[in-house]
């Protein structure tokens, strides 16, 4: 295995950031977190990543707006939307995301999706 793949988690809920950080680090990824969309975009400018896990409902800039900004600058960067809400799937603005995973205590689906994208 060469260099570790980098994942950026953007979620205003610190517990989620913490949990995903622990879990994906265990799986061998390098994980950074941001607790707002704004900080996430800032972090992306400083350091390139291989995948973004993005929450939608966040105070200030929401995930949908962040997604647009991410794609307009790096349109090949995979983004997984990770939300407790399913109805944002109806919003076409989320369709440009690579995948949409609903939040759950069971991280199997999210892990599988990340694996599929980064290690196909």
């Amino acid at each position: 295995m060469g260099q570790k793949k980098r994942i950026l988690v953007i979620d205003d809920e610190v517990n989620i950031c913490e949990l995903l950080s622990l879990e994906f680090t265990d799986l061998g990824y390098e994980v950074s977190t941001a607790n707002s969309a704004f900080n996430g975009l800032l972090s992306l400018k400083k350091q390139a990543v291989d995948l973004v896990i993005l929450d939608i409902k966040m105070p200030g800039m929401d995930g949908i707006e962040a997604l647009e900004k991410i794609i307009s600058t790096q349109n090949n960067l995979p983004v997984i939307i990770h939300s407790a809400y399913s109805h944002f799937k109806e919003n076409y603005l989320t369709w440009s995301a690579t995948s949409y995973v609903i939040k759950s205590g069971n991280l199997t689906e999210l892990k599988q999706t990340v694996q599929d994208i980064l290690n196909p």
Partner: protein, 582 residues
């Protein structure tokens, strides 16, 4: 004798329009008003034939019926109506009576009449309105007679038999039943036998004399249903197409008939049948006419007293029948109106009930939304609890004393998540508020937004929107996204100096948008690729515009087609069905 002379001198004031006609139908005397009525002057009236007053196709024989027939006992025609002609050929409606006068061996006819033209015209006006009303309510059990109607029938019959003026012994009412196309006996009043006659007249004698009181009394008679005459009349049922029948003839001719020993048709089977049935030698049959339409007949006779029916009787009865018919039919119409009002009220009540149900449903829907919202809100924290629990659990050895506790936490969170999923999938479908969208408005908005860009690039735009485009079942911002993406693509493809065509047409319940440009186009091999993400020919494009367009079109039940010719240009065609709904 002097009084008679005075009377004769003033006869014009009493009878007004009258004339005397001889047995050759020559008018031998005109009253002054008669001359004026028909427009003849002194010189023209001498020995004038009555035919000058008759409209085409009406003969004197027809007009005077059998009055001059010496075998006939009929000596008068009372309150009849007909059309006559004035000198200036204007036809007028008249109500007339004719009396046969005999002087020595000469027969003369006295005709007196009233001009009722205006009345008839007014009647016709009322007719058509009434007919409309009647037709409108016709479907509502027309053949079922209300108890109110029976009471009115009773009142009519009481008036004919027991009234101050009419005083016939018996009266029978027969009505046309449209369903069975026959004339049916409905109700009758009068003694069925001599004994009963005594009983009834005794009772009527003891009762007060006003009509209303008599009617109330009649209604209270406990044996009213048992009147023999009622049984008798209810046996009568004559088909309407039996034109020769004595009971049908008055319906056809709309003239009364007197049946007695001297009748011309005394040997007619139906006449024999009727006289036997009523066991009477003389009776009068009067048609009931409602705005020109025959609706039944009244039969009246003097079976008990055997008093002959006089001209005066006929005059009173014909007038009375007119009024009675008016009352009966008005009440019938009122009953129908009442019924329809009841129905409308019922319908109103139903509407209100269903409105209440709707409100209830909306409340439930609002509650459902609330529940859904809460479920979503719970899902986030639950993911954290479950995530950390599972993490710890995965790292705990089976022999650890915490293993079992952690397992329980993980399992319970899993169950809770399933419960939430259940709630969300069953309670409320996420609200999709489709709107009826005015596509012309959207297109115009897109063009307005792009105007600057279009001018800058010197692009000619040809917009052609068919008038009266139906609205489409799509959210406005969805349609806006579709159109603006395609227009933006085209404008960028043209770059400079080209033509952009935007069409909207409505064909066979489908709305078709065409967006065509004179840009560089692309080879047909590329067509499949253009809708895949990140395909772009532009330097700084994201390649997502067309992906979004396609998804939005399909989501709203439409289809998208593209044709392109390299160096000539590209055409997008989007089709929506008018009636599509999710």
């Amino acid at each position: 004798m002097i009084y008679q002379e005075v009377l004769f001198q003033n006869l014009d004031k009493i009878l007004n329009v009258w004339m005397i006609i001889d047995s050759d139908y020559k008018i031998v005397h005109w009253s002054q008003p008669a001359k004026q009525q028909f427009g003849f002057n002194e010189d023209e009236i001498n020995n004038q034939s009555f035919s000058v007053l008759l409209p085409e196709f009406v003969t004197e024989e027809l007009f005077f019926e059998n009055l001059l027939d010496s075998n006939q006992s009929v000596t008068s025609l009372i309150n009849q109506s007909a059309k006559l002609k004035q000198k200036n050929n204007i036809i007028i409606d008249v109500e007339f009576s004719i009396f046969k006068l005999t002087h020595e061996d000469k027969i003369l006819l006295l005709l007196s009449l009233d001009n009722i033209t205006e009345e008839v015209e007014l009647q016709q006006l009322v007719n058509s309105k009434m007919k409309q009303l009647n037709e409108r309510f016709h479907q509502m059990n027309d053949d079922q007679l209300d108890q109110t109607i029976y009471d009115i029938f009773g009142a009519v019959l009481v008036s004919i038999t027991a009234g101050q003026g009419l005083q016939f012994n018996r009266a029978f009412l027969l009505y046309i039943d449209q369903k069975s196309e026959s004339l049916k006996g409905i109700q009758a009043i009068g003694p069925g036998s001599g004994e009963e006659a005594g009983k009834i007249y005794q009772e009527f004698d003891q009762t007060p004399k006003t009509l209303t009181e008599m009617i109330t009394h009649y209604q209270n008679l406990k044996y009213q249903k048992d009147f023999l005459v009622n049984e008798m009349v209810q046996q009568i049922n004559v088909k309407l197409d039996d034109y020769e029948h004595i009971l049908i003839q008055p319906l056809v001719t709309q003239k009364y008939i007197i049946v007695n020993d001297n009748s011309l048709n005394v040997n007619d089977p139906s006449v024999i049948w009727l006289r036997q049935l009523l066991s009477v030698s003389e009776c009068i049959i009067i048609p009931m006419i409602w705005h020109g339409r025959s609706i039944g007949v009244i039969i009246a006779d003097n079976q008990v007293t055997r008093r002959p029916i006089t001209n005066l009787d006929i005059k009173k009865l014909t007038r009375f029948t007119k009024t009675a018919v008016n009352v009966i039919e008005s009440v019938r119409l009122l009953i129908k109106l009442e019924e329809s009002i009841t129905n409308v009220k019922k319908a109103n009540l139903q509407i209100r009930e269903s409105q209440a149900i709707l409100v209830q449903k909306e409340k439930l829907a609002a509650m459902g939304e609330l529940v859904a919202h809460m479920a979503h809100e719970v899902r986030g924290p639950l993911a954290i609890i479950g995530g950390f629990a599972r993490r710890v659990f995965n790292q705990t050895a089976t022999r650890s004393k915490h293993y079992d506790s952690l397992k329980r936490i993980v399992e319970t969170v899993d169950t809770l998540e399933l419960v939430i999923n259940d709630i969300l999938s069953s309670s409320v479908p996420e609200k999709v508020d489709q709107g009826r969208c005015d596509s012309s408005k959207v297109i115009n908005r897109v063009i307005a937004l792009m105007e600057e860009e279009i001018l800058k690039r010197e692009i000619s735009v040809n917009v052609n929107l068919q008038g009266n485009l139906p609205n489409i079942n799509i959210k406005e911002h969805h349609l806006f996204e579709i159109i603006s993406n395609l227009v933006k693509n085209s404008v960028e493809a043209i770059d400079k100096n080209g033509l952009l065509i935007i069409l909207a047409n409505y064909v066979k319940e489908k709305i078709i948008f065409t967006i065509q440009d004179t840009g560089p186009g692309f080879p047909s091999t590329e067509i499949e690729k253009i809708f895949s993400p990140f395909y772009t020919t532009k330097k700084d494009g994201t390649g997502l515009g067309l992906v979004v367009v396609k998804k939005l079109v399909e989501k709203n039940g439409g289809s998208i087609e593209v044709t392109s010719v390299p160096t000539k240009g590209t055409t997008f065609k989007i089709t929506f069905s008018e009636h599509y709904s999710e």
